[in-house]
Amino acid sequence: MIKIIDFGVGNLNSIKKILNKINLQSEICSSPEKLEDSKVIILPGVGNFENAIKKIKSSGFYEILNHLVIKEKKTILGICLGMQLFFEESEESTKPGFSWINGSVKKFEFENISNKINFKTPHMGWNTAKVLKKDFLFKNLDEKPRFYFAHSYHVVCKDKKHIVANTQYGYDFCSIVNKENIWGVQFHPEKSHKFGINFFKNFFSNIKNV
């Protein structure tokens, strides 16, 4: 069963709904013990990094996620802020993240870009992603995929080998990350209509134990 973590932030119904459309059962979990029998965990999240990590701790998800992801090697997919929380630190927070992936979360900075007026923050709207590896994620497409983004901060991987795809907005930033069983996407596949459906199909048919 796919478990979607509900720690009080974000739009979870849309994830459940799109998985349902490709015949995948999922459950929205607001208490940590419900994660025990999960096959894959989805960590969504919108809003503020510090607020989110505080809520994850106060709702009891922090310890169990560390156990399931690091000890049991369960597959986890972070979406948007959910992905950012996998990193060590954020400019948006005085508290650290899960620190499963080395790197940090930074605000978009366009000061040194000549046509900076074109680059508004948040990066909001549809953009493409350039896949560097794991190209099974983008198969079965008859046109270049585009995804819906809505964020002011982006991750910076310390170790380049964890970058699966980059997206360009003023400069290249990491839009899909992977380290072993840990996956993250900066965009919202659940809101990216046919491309989101395709992404989830490819993701779930290619990772183990689903």
């Binding site: 932030v9 974000g10 739009n11 979870l12 119904n13 849309s14 709904k17 799109i18 459309k21 919108v46 809003g47 503020n48 607020n51 802020l81 007026i117 074109n118 508004k120 923050t121 948040p122 990066h123 909001m124 709207g125 549809w126 953009n127 493409t128 046109e143 585009r146 819906y148 809505a150 964020h151 002011s152 360009q168 907005y169 919202h188 809101k191 209509h193 046919k194 989101g196 459906i197």
Partner: protein, 256 residues
């Protein structure tokens, strides 16, 4: 490549879809759920639903109906109408909506923008600002569905909203809404150059040339329209449509 969003804006009066001209003369055009299903098939970039009846009748948002809409939407979806508190906003997000649009309440209770963006993040908080052109140049800002003029300088007001934490601005030309005479390019240039958050243009678009013109000459991030996506021909027969992506690529980005 980052794309300029093309957004249909749909007006609700109760649970009916309506459309008018210059914020008046609204006519029934159809069933919202039906319409959203058509837009799903057309893979639209984003949808904005505005309930024009709730502010007028001093009602809270119709959550049950918003949920029905959100359950059908596979694209980003923004709801506006009757929002006055953070509790309402949280409730709307829980239902399955990504973004809320605030207009009148942003003027009366600016802290709502601050509190809401702190909780949900700026990317979820859209502020819409409705303007009319002044005879001697410049713009007046209106609230309450264009019925009440406020004494705010447009650019100062927009910057204030941006500083409070708004993540996006929908700028609507009341004079042009529903008229099909083209966007107010001067307004869009002024606004998109003066704020650092995304600006969505609304009011006046009739066809793809209007999109092209605004994309070429301004820094707006989104191009919104009503009529163009719901009517067809000079007699305004109801027809839900959305341009083909290949057509937009060719026109706006010179891509094959």
């Amino acid at each position: 490549m980052f794309k300029t969003r093309i957004l249909p804006v749909l007006l609700l009066d109760g649970e009916n879809l309506v459309k008018g001209e210059q914020f008046k003369k609204h006519k029934y055009i159809g069933d919202p759920i039906n319409t959203i299903n058509i837009f799903n098939e057309k893979n639209v970039d984003e949808l904005i639903f505005l309930d024009i009846s709730v502010t007028k009748n001093k009602l809270p948002p119709n959550y049950k109906f918003i949920k029905e809409i959100a359950d059908e939407a596979f694209m980003p979806f923004c709801y506006g109408g009757g929002i006055t508190s953070v509790n309402q906003i949280e409730k709307i997000f829980k239902i399955g909506v990504e973004k809320v649009l605030i207009n009148t309440a942003a003027y009366y209770t600016p802290n709502l923008i601050k509190d809401a963006s702190h909780i949900a993040g700026s990317q979820s908080i859209v502020v819409s600002v409705d303007v009319k052109k002044k005879i001697l140049g410049g713009y007046d800002v209106y609230i309450k569905n264009g019925t009440v003029k406020i004494k705010e300088n447009l650019i100062d007001y927009l910057r204030k909203l941006q500083d409070l934490g708004a993540g996006e601005i929908v700028i609507t030309s009341i004079d042009r809404e529903g008229t099909g005479i083209g966007y107010d390019i001067e307004l869009l240039q002024l606004v998109s150059d003066k704020v650092n958050i995304p600006v969505i243009a609304l009011g006046g678009a009739k066809n793809l040339n209007d999109f092209y013109e605004a994309k070429k000459t301004t820094n707006v991030s989104g191009l919104a329209a009503g009529n163009m996506f719901v009517f067809y021909g000079k007699h305004k027969a109801v027809l839900i449509s959305y341009p083909e992506y290949s057509e937009l690529n060719k026109l706006l980005y010179n891509l094959k």
